[in-house]
């Protein structure tokens, strides 16, 4: 009986990839541990190892093929003693005997080295729900885009990279430092290609010493440069938070406006997929509480690009919170020579009259999806993406509230002392007379994020939770 070898998933959110290269050919003997192919995703190139012994009977997907779906049969093996010629066409049914094992380059706990699981068994996790919802595009055009501008599809990852590259070309004081940003091309490939273009003077691999290199970056900014400090994730930036808060944020004030810290601290923030409590925290409320910092957390690729360019140009220190689940998501980006967005301005993603849903980062996808569902039930929801969390665009929230008189805040993060709490307080202080119902927060559960798929799903925000909160504030059962 032939063994079907299927396209492996190299990360929990991978849906398809490129079969870059076959390292075996039909008729070859393989044994466990032999590298059979190289598979590329937008994140990384990985080697695909055999776990079964046998002879390569048929190669079903030619090398160089893009868009190979996870779970698609890519080759067949015959076991010892079988005749390679007797192999049947690949079975359409699930074959549990085939468990190819993909091995990613070992690297610091970023969650991409998850072993393969066939697409049919796509686990319904909370992260998966957020990831799927992050396909939702804005329904209304960004007012910042000039009429007639051509739009191109780009991933958030590419948009961030392009933003950095463009600013580095324009200003030689700008450089990038962080763990694996140069030779490895970025733990999440956000800095891909920068080393080749700008060299190792401006794209700098650091040791794993977040406190130290955050301080070195901040000192370099004090000394007149414009550093971009990448944290592999913001979970690790807790080691460096002293420099972000005490050294970068407070210096301009403490020096009476003489000494500036123009720099960007950036990296993924919030829950990824199944990486557990220590790698899944949203730090937006922490940084947004600090006077002296700018805090940006974009949702789509156009905002990621336009706001990253603005962040690099800003004279103030910026905490730029990205999201790992969004990196691979594609959105329309305006094709303009210099696409820079204003910091501190929210964006209306969808217009509506019955209720306002305010969110940021990955929560925006959920809000848009919920709005779609609600539209089918006769509730017309307006969706606001805050984009910048400090300074907060209070006017955008209050203006929308004045129109809809109902407010739900969606945040992928803990509820206590959250951005959602802050907006609820803002509305009590400045929008009370516009409220027809209490403000509701839709946040993660107030627990460390669990690993188990079912528990993780229960802990994270979802579009369903948004839908029920909206119905509640609209007094619709």
């Amino acid at each position: 009986m032939a063994i079907d070898i299927k396209m492996p998933a190299l990360s929990p959110t991978m849906e398809e990839g490129t079969l870059a290269k076959w390292l075996v050919k039909e008729g070859d003997q393989v044994k466990s541990g032999d590298i059979m192919a190289e598979i590329e995703t937008d994140k990384a190139t990985m080697e695909f190892e055999a776990v079964d012994e046998g002879t390569v009977a048929k190669i079903l997907v030619a090398e160089g093929t893009d868009g190979v779906k996870v779970g698609e049969v890519i080759m067949q093996l015959t076991a010892e003693g079988e005749d390679a010629g007797s192999v049947d066409a690949p079975a359409q049914t699930k074959d549990d005997t085939a468990k190819p094992d993909a091995k990613a380059d070992a690297k610091k706990d970023d969650g991409v080295e998850d072993s393969a699981h066939p697409a049919q068994e796509k686990v319904e996790t909370g992260a998966r729900q957020m990831f799927d919802a992050a396909k939702n595009d804005a329904q209304v055009r960004d007012p910042e885009v000039p009429e007639g501008t051509e739009m191109v599809k780009q991933t958030v990852r590419e948009a961030l990279r392009d933003a950095m590259a463009e600013e580095m070309r324009a200003d030689d004081r700008v450089f990038v430092m962080g763990e694996e940003v140069a030779q490895y091309q970025g733990a999440y490939k956000v800095t891909q290609g920068l080393l080749d273009e700008f060299g190792d003077k401006r794209v700098i691999d650091t040791p794993i010493t977040e406190y130290g290199f955050a301080g070195v970056g901040t000192g370099a900014a004090m000394g007149g440069l414009r550093p971009i400090v990448e944290f592999m994730t913001f979970n690790f930036a807790m080691q460096a938070i002293d420099h972000i808060v005490n050294s970068a944020a407070k210096t301009n004030y403490m020096s009476g406006g003489q000494m500036r810290c123009p720099m960007v601290f950036r990296g993924p923030n919030g829950a990824a997929s199944r990486v557990g409590a220590q790698h899944s925290q949203n730090y937006a409320p922490w940084y947004a509480s600090v006077p002296g910092l700018i805090v940006i957390a974009p949702y789509d690729a156009a905002d990621a690009k336009g706001l990253m360019k603005a962040a690099i140009r800003s004279e103030d220190p910026v905490v730029f919170l990205e999201n790992e689940l969004l990196y691979g998501r594609s959105f329309e980006v305006p094709k303009l020579d210099d696409w820079v967005l204003p910091i501190g301005k929210a964006r209306t993603m969808r217009e509506g009259k019955d209720v306002t849903i305010v969110s940021y980062s990955i929560g925006v996808g959920l809000a848009l999806e919920a709005a779609e569902t609600l539209a089918g039930e006769g509730i017309d929801a307006e969706v606001i993406d805050l984009r910048t969390l400090r300074p907060l665009d209070k006017a955008a929230v209050l203006t929308s509230l004045a129109k809809t008189n109902r407010l739900v805040i969606v945040e992928e993060g803990w509820p206590t002392c959250s951005i959602a709490s802050e907006i609820a307080a803002l509305v009590m202080e400045e929008g009370f007379d516009d409220l027809d119902a209490p403000v509701l927060r839709v946040c993660n559960e107030d627990v460390p994020l669990p690993y188990a798929a079912n528990l993780e799903k229960l802990a994270l925000v979802s579009a369903d939770k948004v839908v029920s909160a909206v119905k509640k504030v609209c007094y619709r059962a």
């Binding site: 000192g219 005490n246 009476g256 103030d316």
Partner: protein
């Protein structure tokens, strides 16, 4: 005043560990001209009188919060900073008044900051521990123990990145020498051959904890060994030894050989801060250092040996007292910040 002659012994460096790596030469005491010696005397005395006045103003309630005086340690900053050029940058912790004066910042700007006035170098918003002057390449004035070491490494990074030939002088104390980020910085500074001189001002006490109660390796100049950063131990009570060490360190760093550590053995006469009851050491211990090793008395004696008239030294003393008195008067009479300043300088730009 102390009568005993100051020790002029050579720097008490232990022999470097056997190694085939290149090491800096043993520094020699600086051979100062009479003019230079007069300048050292002037600068050390200015710091001493300034700090004494700050202590008085603190006692009168004109200076609030924390106030860390540099009295006793003057030879360190004077010796080292006299060797710098205007390309170089300086950063230190919260015991920063003396270093600032040596960067050329007017005493009245510093004193007015201590009293929290609009005319202070930070418009009264920083206070004793948080003062900066980009114009004078003085980058603080940092209140978090050890933070200035990473930041100073970043200043060195910026010098190298720009290729401006400058060196960053990053001061920290024996207490900060145990902070983790110091070693993270050592690692990067040597890895990237950054032009940084790490100056450990070992005044023997981190607040009330003596070095050997807190440091498993109490010979702090050796703390860079596992990062391949050479270290030199220097008599920080002798301005000529300090200047000599600065020459050696600058030559090493400017030649592109990477960072270097100078452990300056010194002593603070006053408490850690103004509120320190100083129960951790005896009055006799302090008095003995004052009598035997005072850095200012040492230079005064050298000047007398070179035939400088007593009257000339008196004149210097009078000039300094006048500058300090004017700074103090200014700092008491100049107005507090306008209430509107509460909201300025939080961010540079308007969003």
């Amino acid at each position: 005043m102390a009568k005993a002659p100051a020790s002029s012994s050579k720097a008490p460096s232990a022999p470097p560990p056997a190694s085939n790596r290149e090491r800096p030469d043993e520094p020699r005491p600086y051979e100062a001209s009479k003019e230079e010696l007069l300048q050292f005397y002037h600068d050390m005395l200015l710091i001493r009188r300034f700090e004494e006045k700050a202590g008085q103003l603190y006692g009168l309630g004109l200076i609030g919060g924390f106030c860390h005086l540099y009295i006793g340690q003057e030879a360190v900053a004077v010796g080292l900073q006299s060797a710098l050029t205007d390309k170089d940058s300086v950063i230190t912790g919260y015991r920063d008044h003396g270093h600032m004066l040596l960067c050329g910042i007017p005493p009245k700007d510093v004193m007015a900051e201590l009293t929290g006035r609009q005319a202070g170098i930070s418009k009264g918003k920083g206070g004793s521990m948080h003062m900066f002057s980009v114009e004078h390449k003085f980058y603080g004035g940092h209140g978090i123990v050890g933070a200035q070491v990473s930041l100073g490494t970043g200043l060195g990074f910026a010098h190298k990145y720009r290729g401006d030939g400058g060196v960053a002088l990053a001061y920290f104390g024996d207490g900060a020498a145990n902070q983790g980020q110091v070693y993270e910085s050592f690692n990067m500074a040597e890895l990237w051959k950054l032009p940084v001189i790490f100056v450990i001002e070992n005044n023997q006490y981190a607040m009330g904890t003596s070095v050997n109660r807190a440091s498993s390796e109490d010979q702090l100049y050796r703390r860079g060994e596992s990062f391949r950063i050479p270290g030199i131990q220097v008599d920080g009570m002798d301005v000529l030894a300090a200047r000599g060490a600065a020459e050696t360190a600058l030559e090493w760093v400017r030649a592109g050989k990477g960072p270097i550590i100078l452990e300056m053995k010194t002593y603070r006469y006053r408490g850690h801060s103004m509120s320190d009851p100083a129960k951790y050491r005896s009055r006799e211990e302090v008095q003995a250092v004052r009598d035997k090793s005072d850095p200012i008395e040492h230079v005064k004696k050298l000047l007398e040996e070179q035939g400088v008239a007593e009257a000339d030294l008196k004149k210097t003393e009078q000039d300094i007292r006048k500058i300090v008195a004017e700074a103090a008067d200014f700092s008491e009479s100049t107005p507090e910040p306008d209430p509107k300043e509460l909201y300025t300088d939080v961010l540079v730009e308007t969003y």
